[in-house]
Assembly symmetry: C2
Homo-oligomer: 522 residues x 2
Amino acid sequence: MGVADDTKETSRRRGGRKARQEMRAAPIPREEAAVKPGMVGGKYQPLSRAEQERIHESALEILETVGISDTIPSGIEYLTSVGCRYENGRMYFPRKVIAETLEKANYRFTLHGRDPVHDIEPCGKKVYFGTAGAAVHIAEPETNTYRESFLHDLYDAARIVDNCEHIHYFQRSVVPRDIEDPRDMDFNTAYASLAGTNKHVGTSMVMPQHVTDVLEMCHMIAGSEEAWRAKPFVSMSCCFVVPPMKWAEDACACLETAILGGMPVLLLSAGQAGATSPAALAGAVVLQVAECLAGLTYVNAISPGAPAIFGPWPFVSDLRTGAMSGGSGEQALLTAACAQMGQFYGLPTGSAAGMCDAEMPDIQAGYEKGLTAALVGASGLNMVYESVGMHASLLGFCLESLLIDNDMIGAINRNVRGIEVNDATLSVDIIREVCLEGPGHFLGSDQTLSLMQTEYVYPELATRMSPKEWNEAGKPDIVKKATARKKEILSTYFPGHIPADVDKAIRDKFNVLLPEESVRPK
Amino acid sequence: MGVADDTKETSRRRGGRKARQEMRAAPIPREEAAVKPGMVGGKYQPLSRAEQERIHESALEILETVGISDTIPSGIEYLTSVGCRYENGRMYFPRKVIAETLEKANYRFTLHGRDPVHDIEPCGKKVYFGTAGAAVHIAEPETNTYRESFLHDLYDAARIVDNCEHIHYFQRSVVPRDIEDPRDMDFNTAYASLAGTNKHVGTSMVMPQHVTDVLEMCHMIAGSEEAWRAKPFVSMSCCFVVPPMKWAEDACACLETAILGGMPVLLLSAGQAGATSPAALAGAVVLQVAECLAGLTYVNAISPGAPAIFGPWPFVSDLRTGAMSGGSGEQALLTAACAQMGQFYGLPTGSAAGMCDAEMPDIQAGYEKGLTAALVGASGLNMVYESVGMHASLLGFCLESLLIDNDMIGAINRNVRGIEVNDATLSVDIIREVCLEGPGHFLGSDQTLSLMQTEYVYPELATRMSPKEWNEAGKPDIVKKATARKKEILSTYFPGHIPADVDKAIRDKFNVLLPEESVRPK
């Protein structure tokens, strides 16, 4: 595979290899980067249009004839007011109601970052990659151990994401198990996220009062409620349903509060195929789509046009044990099919890919993450949640993996961008010149030099060495490199995303558990 | 994510979890397996039809106006006899000649295994995964070292592939560097492959006499030349061209001998974008497609309808160093685009995916392999070469990775199979029953039990454990498990694929360097 290094001709023209290395070493302006947030995907489409229609029809049938149990009183009021039928303890959704919901729904909204460079527009087939999850453990590759996750881990994860070019938003990934009180937990989860990154933050709350707390903090950070409502920078991940077809009562109450407070919501229906959803992949998609359409009806009954992300998240079960499994080919199919159903409706859609079942950042973790995130990215899913850092079927989170997965997502995002075919890229004239007049290779051609940044993505931690170079470099280990980079970021990067005066006001009002010196060291 | 274990209802019905585990422990009949060789892909299509046409047109233009240099005398005779124009040392291909080639070409042939269960039919969008390569090193994860590759490594690789459900054919993956004489090297490469596996074998020869040697061995193994020609079980990987647009003279001479001897050929054009092919991805595809069309013209000039695999293999260069890089998002795009061009012509097509730049089976290796093999599998490429075992940008090969990658390809192949959408899989009745009458979950439903083998693929080496289970199991390490499995196979598996009498006859006639006791231990 060896290719001769530059010939004299190329060195004369542009300085050859050295010039290329120097050019690459300089920071790349964002507008020239090979990949940006929101590349347009959709070239992987496992379902035909007819199959999408059959899934849609089946979802409508279930909504109309099976209905959803456990509706809270306010939900009964909202849903019957738009035409749903409440009978024998179940809420039924006539087709007309779903059609009207789809007329009222918000198809185009922004998930704001506090820095507008991080704004996300989850529409069409634009793809954004981010974190998510509720891991209760941290995987520590340095010691090959698992431990409970704490509040500072969440803050650390947010600070690392703030440093990762290819991770476009930060959703709460670990549960701070050092906080017992649920209200403190929800508040501090949001606080730690907002302290660590100014990318868009997703979080989760278990009681309406907790939503109110977080909204109040958001008003303080934004400067006013109006400023918050104009550019909401926090969204709520809401498991509004317990599949199959049962509302999650507290989550529904939170949903109402968030919608009224102007907070975008992720309508997350997380079934497990073969356990809480049908084992047949198509059936799992049907059930989760039906539930999300119900959730969307709820949202639009509360406030027509409120921003909501359509979130069918069917997971795979390992049917030998019933355990959730996230890194399989079946998982990639399920999530890509859900992406297509979101596109079928034209709704901003989010689901999960890039998970793995491996405990540690090993080759199994790599291929499970790689195959699922690549296929789902190619499907054009707007919000690819859980795409970085997750391990052990979502039970574990690893900060080293965040950094390594950032490289992986860079490569996957380059794939999402696709191949541009035009007169220039078809390169007929360049091929002719190189073969008939030129040096017989393309190393020194102007095209090569001009495309090296705009056509290609380069990894930060991953190596591209021959065995000889690898030996001479002391056999670099990517996980150890990631640990070193993690320590560097965590010991030096204190972004102060919450200004000191606002921070003080928040601390005066709420029980902030992240010590001030963690956020703003002396 | 926890899901309650079986309730009493489900246990009563079918014995629940225990029944499922027992069912899974039994061997799965091939016709019931969730994945088989030759699943139909093609749901990932990065190029539009119009873009494919532009690439085709550009390739024709280059063939017509740039031409190929260094044609050997017999090639001049073959090619001018079908209408090519030879001028000023270059061979030009008028459009009419390409059109006629595409009329004569063989669109449907079988790559035979010596056991017909391993027959491969590379047509339509059927996908097969296998090895390939010419690695000169073996990666030894046990000691974290690289060493030269030897003949026994090739035999070992073949024996391991013979044990891997998801690896569908064996192409020579390492160069036996313990053999100096090229004729001995080529012969023994083929011999070791055929001794180790009865899946279809691909190999490579550098001189026509070597092809003749291997053909003679094939006649002996088949029983006669007629029997060999009826079901050829060895194909020749032929790098017939040195991009850009220069014939590889010795390879062309081998090509002629192989075609005349009834051996299927892989027409492999391996450029490196930015080095021996244009840096623009579309241009690299154009060049490799043009070269493969030229190769196909050559083949059909020698023998119309001879079996040939269309093999545009553009590789990515890391333009900072010029080094080949195989595990990137750009690589997945290049190979998938080539798959589509093969589909554009309807030709049996093979190219490379599943490579990685990482030296060892680590997380980088995993994600590089996973993302490229998954996307290319989804593109419907017929023959996915280099899909298992490769490291260090093709310079290294790892037997442990073969076994681990087998699990990965199983998952990817499950993805290739796709989602079946029909009345049964849409599961409307099952959802209704479970919600309105049943236990409120699907764990014990008849559908779940009946689909657990046919809908889902289970890995052999990869784990799906909670952190607690992982701890209790002694923190299993997938690479160590693979090493143990490798040792088990290599110390116990001596398939004797070449019967003793034939083996003796071959050893009498040729310089077989693999000791008899390696093949048939006492």
